[in-house]
Amino acid sequence: MAELTYRDAVARGIAQEMERDEDVVFLGEDVAKAGGVFKATVGLLEKFGPLRVRDTPISEQAILGAAMGAAMTGLKPIAEIMFADFIAVCYDYIANEFPKSRYMTNGQVKCPLVVRLGNGGGARFGAQHSQSVENWCMQFPGLKVVAPSSPVDVVGLLAAAVRDPDPVIFLEHKSLYALKGDVPDGEIVDTLGSAKILRSGTDCTLIALGMMVPRALAAAEQLAKDAGINCEVVDVRSLMPLDTQTLLGSVARTHRIFTIEENPRVLGWGAEIVSIIADEAFYDLDGPPVRITTPHIPLPATDILEDLAIPSVSRIVETVRRSMSS
């Protein structure tokens, strides 16, 4: 067991898979010699050499297109798009190419690749370098979308993503890179499509993803201490496939749900979950489902504004307390 940062867990996860399978290759902007702008891939070039760890030009279409061509013909590429916001300039591959190639060709074409994105806010980078783009990705049939919230999940879910035969969007949260956590020694492989109950509770369920997970856990502790509200906290981890059984099971126990989403309000993943629960577990609910999200605004740069926009521990606590007492 070692204590690792979320950042170091990325390099460990990639290294674990590159050691196992020489068809795993890695490309992106500044990922090799510089070790990544977030220093999440330091040491990989030295360990695996310039044929497997490759710096690219600022050409996001070329990065994702090349990853796809390599995946179709036998490699298992990991591509990095530095800031998640930048997928808007290579969205064709995410929307039209990766997810549809197998279906359109009646199963002839495969696309086993991983796209790592530096996702999310909290770093004061402003509206074009801070977005939570999970909802931009989860809408396409054929894609898988995961978002780890802890170092151990980074290693395990990254390994699962690399070994998965489908295209996987892997959302790393930029503001979690410094987060520390215990990571067991040896090979770690997790399962895509599995949510995790991180805190058992009886009064309501907080459903969170990415950076909202540690905030939900902190809010749950405060709610237990200050208000006597015992929250269950579920880390969704995987938006596609979605572990609805874990979510529905939790609703059946607690009878109240709150989704905690970093994305702007409209069409967030929480809306999909709420709709599933309304459809399938309506009579388990003792009150209306509540979505706690960033308001429907672009993210501002400066700290006092950004902190007001993204759901905070105190906003989660206040919203849950108010809803549970009404």
């Binding site: 050409s59 990065i63 297109g65 796809m68 061509g69 039209n96 009646n106 199963g107 074409v109 054929g142």
Partner: protein
Amino acid sequence: MRKPTVRRAGPAVPNDDIGEALRLELYRSQFRLREAEQRAYDLFLQNLVKGTSHLSLGQEAIAAGAAAAMEPGDLSFCTYRGHAHTLARGVSVEKVLGELMGRDNGLMRGKGGSMHLTSVEHGVMGSYAIIGAHLPIACGAAWRAQYKGMSDVSVCFFGDGTTNIGAFHEALNFAVIWTLPVIFVCENNLYMEYTPISDVTAVAAPAADRASAYGLPRIVIDGNDADIVYRTMKEAFDKARRGEGPSLIECLTYRHSGHSRADPAKYRPEGELERWKLRDPLKIYKGRLKQFGIEDSRIDAIEQQVRREVDDATDACKAAPATSTDVLFTDVYADGGWAWRN
């Protein structure tokens, strides 16, 4: 603006580098593409093919010449105007027409349609309907060949309109800096959809005049002469297999029909189509066969065989059942199904 310099065939010499057997094959291939495309058009008129379709009538020499220069294992990446390139790699006319008609015998059982013809077993790695998307994808396939020490080359076909989209430029730069075994083949048929390419492009030769920006030689060829296409492609394959990286080849050609099924091509100046029909690739090539002393009877025999193949394929498709509705939910994910939740 500079006029493109066009390479034309040298004087005809008997027993030249192409030789009789390949020359007959090149004629057969072009004639087959012509007949199959014409049949696809006829089936539209009979409402047996739905949706849209982009024909290569008039552009057959490029697909035939390029495919003849390929080795088994080389990979083709095509656009939505991809019937000819798919057929030229040896995919049956029945599979292609079946796909256009949405029959169970179709290449992808109706799930892709005209714009996405794919036959991995023939090296046809897909037909891509978003302009420019497949140039980087071809780079990736070439990267795999380079990384794994394999000798295959990826060939990416696209139209003149593609040269004005970003992915074209990203892919060229990428292919050059990584010295990838990829060949970019621009079919310049003078129109990007409905607009003359010269109206919307900064240079006279939309692909070739950009080559120097990526350190590549400027190559413009007569795309209506299959011999020239074949020879130029051979050189590019040799270069790629020697590890010397990519080529960009601009082939001048002309489409005899509109951009797509919906387009009667009324934007063309009077007489232009007629002038290009004098340079019809099939006319040029039939003349070449005669020049080399190949008897009419042998040419007729090839044409008969091809016509029979296309007729038989048409009959088989008309008789085939509509695709099974079972395939609606298959192959979304690699497990064969479409489940996105438990």
